[in-house]
């Protein structure tokens, strides 16, 4: 007899392999017996091990750190490893791949390519023309703990891509940088070791593909699995870029 601990869950999963000629996207149903504390990630592994070894999805850390297992779970972009099946009282769970990324197959998308492009676009490294002359035998310059905390807070981004999938602006305009890029840039803007000026940051995000293209739909804010302050951060960048020059 089923009770709340071991009810039967129905998973409806998008199946499509673009590498197979003639394959078309279709929804397939799987049944899984729920276990206590079960996550979507655990259920998917069970499906792959016991029912269908061909199903494709990504994971590495299983703990919400690597950002690999992002997918659309019952209409919300989420990390599979941080989503409990117990959150779905009806027991029917629909899984779709993240939109806006190149589909590798089924629930697996290529977020890496987009993140690499983003990193290059915001020049995601410390810019300091005098860095070559640094004396490596000396102690590194001290940083205020508050600034270090602020940088750490912004660096918690795991590049899962949920913010981009949740952003209708990005879906509409592919060249739009998106929240992950703004967060990365803000991280370097805060860092005193990066000597880039406001004008130099303007050159990166001062247009409609950058911060002025953001329509403040706040999908990034609402679906970020790390609860990063996207709304506050983008508003700050907008003010800084629009008025601070």
């Amino acid at each position: 007899m089923n009770n709340e601990q071991n009810r039967t869950l129905i998973f409806e999963i998008l199946r499509y392999n673009p590498l197979i000629k003639g394959d078309t996207p279709k929804m397939e149903k799987y049944q899984v017996t729920e276990a206590p504390g079960m996550t979507i990630f655990i259920a998917l592994n069970e499906i792959r091990e016991e029912q269908d070894p061909s199903i494709q999805f990504d994971f590495v850390c299983r703990a919400g750190i690597c950002g690999s297992c992002g997918m659309i779970i019952n209409g919300e972009p989420k990390l599979a490893c941080r989503t409990l099946t117990a959150n779905y009282p009806k027991g029917v769970i629909t899984l779709l791949p993240l939109p806006g990324f190149e589909l590798i197959g089924d629930l697996s998308v290529d977020t890496g390519k987009v993140m690499r492009q983003m990193s290059e676009r915001v020049e995601s490294w410390i810019h300091d023309q005098e860095a070559e002359d640094v004396d490596l035998t000396r102690l590194e310059e001290r940083m205020e703990p508050e600034i270090a905390d602020e940088i750490y807070e912004l660096e918690r981004c795991v590049e899962c891509g949920l913010c981009l999938s949740a952003c209708a602006t990005k879906r509409m305009r592919d060249d739009f940088l998106g929240a992950v890029g703004f967060m990365r840039l803000a991280r370097y803007a805060v860092d005193p070791r990066d000597k880039r000026t406001g004008e130099e940051f303007y050159e990166i995000i001062g247009d409609d593909d950058g911060v002025f293209g953001c329509m403040t739909l706040l999908g990034c804010e609402d679906y970020c699995p790390k609860d990063l302050p996207h709304q506050t951060q983008i508003a700050y960048l907008r003010r800084k870029m629009a008025l601070g020059k």
């Binding site: 779709l96 509409m172 305009r173 247009d207 403040t216 739909l217 999908g219 302050p229 709304q231």
Partner: protein
């Protein structure tokens, strides 16, 4: 010629920044103006005399020795609002889906996530589109017939069959304006306080309350205008308006 040069040495223009500021600035002024406008119109709920009193104030009657006011003041005000309206519409249009592909992307995103703030933005696009037409008609009429009077307005609503347009305009303006002002706060980080999430939830509640308040106010005002319009349908506005209005205003001012 510099726009023909495609290299990364060309400095980014400041124009996108100014366009963004101007879009927000015109939206802020228009949004607040529409709330004040609605409050002034709703003076009809206190009677035609109150509306006439407010109208006279708008025509700067307190500055004229005869108390008749200057309808030209209304023309200038309408011209100002019309200019802001056109500027705001032009700038807002930049954010509309500009092709079927973009439209399909937005619609599929809305269907996939059913995310409230994304939906709110889409309602703004729709209501903005409606206002291109409905707002222009109203503003043009106010520009060519600047005299504000309860009986002229009532006749316009009933005899000239303007009530459906005003009803559509009312719904479009109240939704567009309130959503816009809420989104402005989000966009620029205004009123965020120490807890931006909490402030957002509160602002959203306030937005819903104000939309409901102004919609009720607007609908009641429209009903009163319709009732006045039906009652005075057969009177000649040119004869009656001045006399009725003046009498009512005098009575009102006498208390």
């Amino acid at each position: 010629m510099e726009n023909l040069v495609l290299d990364n040495k060309t400095k980014k223009s400041r124009i996108p920044a100014w366009l963004d500021i101007t879009q927000s600035g015109t939206g802020l002024v228009l949004g607040l103006f529409m709330w004040v406008h609605m409050l002034l119109i709703s003076s009809i709920l206190l009677g035609a005399g109150s509306f006439k009193f407010v109208a006279n104030m708008m025509e700067l009657s307190f500055l004229s020795p005869t108390g008749e006011g200057y309808p030209i003041a209304v023309v200038f005000a309408v011209l100002g609002v019309f200019s802001l309206f056109i500027l705001h519409a032009g700038l807002g249009m930049r954010k509309f889906p500009s092709s079927y592909k973009q439209y399909k992307a937005v619609r599929s995103q809305m269907k996939l996530l059913n995310h409230e703030d994304t939906n709110l933005w889409f309602y703004q696009v729709l209501t903005g589109f409606i206002m291109f037409f409905a707002g222009s008609v109203h503003l043009y009429i106010m520009l060519t017939h600047p005299e504000i009077d309860p009986y002229i307005s009532a006749k316009r609503v009933v005899v000239s069959s303007m009530w459906p347009l005003y009803l559509i305009l009312l719904v479009a303006v109240e939704y567009h304006g309130a959503i816009g002002l809420y989104r402005l706060c989000m966009k620029w980080g205004w009123l965020a306080g120490k807890d931006a999430k909490k402030s957002r939830a509160n602002l959203k509640k306030l937005k819903k309350t104000l939309t409901a308040f102004f919609l009720v106010l607007g609908i009641l005002s429209l009903i009163v205008f319709i009732l006045i319009g039906v009652k005075h349908k057969d009177t000649n506005p040119n004869d009656s308006t001045a006399k009725i209005s003046t009498t009512i205003t005098q009575q009102y001012l006498k208390g």
